[in-house]
Amino acid sequence: MVATLADEADLQAGFEATIARHDRLEPRDWMPEGYRRTLVRQIAQHAHSEIIGMQPEGAWIGRAPSLRRKAVLLAKVQDEAGHGLYLYSATETLGVSRDELTEMLIDGRQKYSSIFNYPTLSYADVGTIGWLVDGAAICNQVPLCRTSFGPYGRAMIRVCKEESFHQRQGFELLMTMMRGTEEQQAMVQESVDRFWWPALMMFGPPDADSPNTAQSMAWGIKTHTNDELRQKFVDMTVPQAARLGVTLPDPDLRWNPERGHHDFGQPDWEEFARVVKGHGPCNAQRVAHRRQAWEDGAWVREAATAYAARQEESA
């Protein structure tokens, strides 16, 4: 069916009216190609982040210091897999297949959050990831619950409900270590020093260098700019750091009573660009691991398919 130009103008007007009403778009509604493309890129990147994000923490499951910590970490990593699946499902409603998405990830054609290209060097990193990385993710994701594309918003609602467990278990882990020996306290501080700047990078480049933000906000996909969310995260985190008894590695960080917000320094945006382009400490390892899991699992997928086909025949 080929829409005439007049039809297309009507459809565009209908789409814009839906957005203006702050109503949601659903998969079978007409939408401009740019809107669809932006959503596919953003939701897929989000899904890939959840899946790749299993690796840095998964590395510590076998070395968790107690059965309790191991059970918690397992549950958390399993949640990340679940979050990836919710988001892949949302992406598929836009007409992309799951296999295509996986292949775009392992071929490097789609990206995931730069934060997961940093290594987890000590067990304290498990706590820091929960506190800072999941804390930053929550700041990003809570507003996305009201994004204009229905399936994405619904996936975000599920994710946010579960994310608060992630952040709290991380903070509790760090609090426990801060009550421990001097060596354990030093581990926490060292971990926070390493993750603070990469966590701030999770909100993306400064607004002045984020050309897509205006369009995404006009479409109701994003509701806050990168810098707004980063500020919110800093304001939220500073008192938590004080309570924990750690310092944040930023000499410019201080309360500004006139603004009613904290002033803070800028992350190294050149480092951010390098990591996004694939030259972070763990990019190659993360993608290679995902590729291997995908390839090693091929026989399982095929066997299950063959079994289902045989069951269907004999039924």
């Binding site: 659903e26 079978r28 679940g82 297949s97 619904r154 996936a155 579960e162 095929e302 398919t305 269907e312």
Partner: protein
């Protein structure tokens, strides 16, 4: 499902998942997933959508088995109920002093 492993790999079919949160409630659509067969779809649905006791019962159904109204026919399909205000209780004027109605 006839060519499991030759040619372009066949993706497992898509299922829609419905969960009954508690006894007495309807099953509600919660999302979708891929599975090779019905049994696997049910197990995956448990793992993906009920990790925190979100349900007491799960339905899975192949997405291809669902018949849906099309967004294009939104008006013609739903218009017939649009002008029948007399189907709503507020259509009827009842004096304020009539009790329990």
């Amino acid at each position: 499902m006839t060519e499991p492993s030759t040619g372009p790999r066949a993706e497992w079919p898509l299922y829609e998942v419905f969960v009954r949160g508690n006894r007495g409630l309807n099953h509600v659509h919660v999302g979708s997933l891929h599975a090779a067969d019905d049994r696997m779809a049910l197990l995956h649905a448990r793992d993906v959508y009920t990790r925190r006791n979100e349900g007491v019962s799960i339905w899975v159904v192949r997405s291809s088995a669902i018949t849906a109204s099309s967004p294009d026919e939104k008006s013609p399909l739903f218009d017939p109920s649009g002008d029948k205000v007399y189907r709503h209780p507020t259509f009827y004027d009842i004096p304020d002093d009539v009790p329990h109605i």
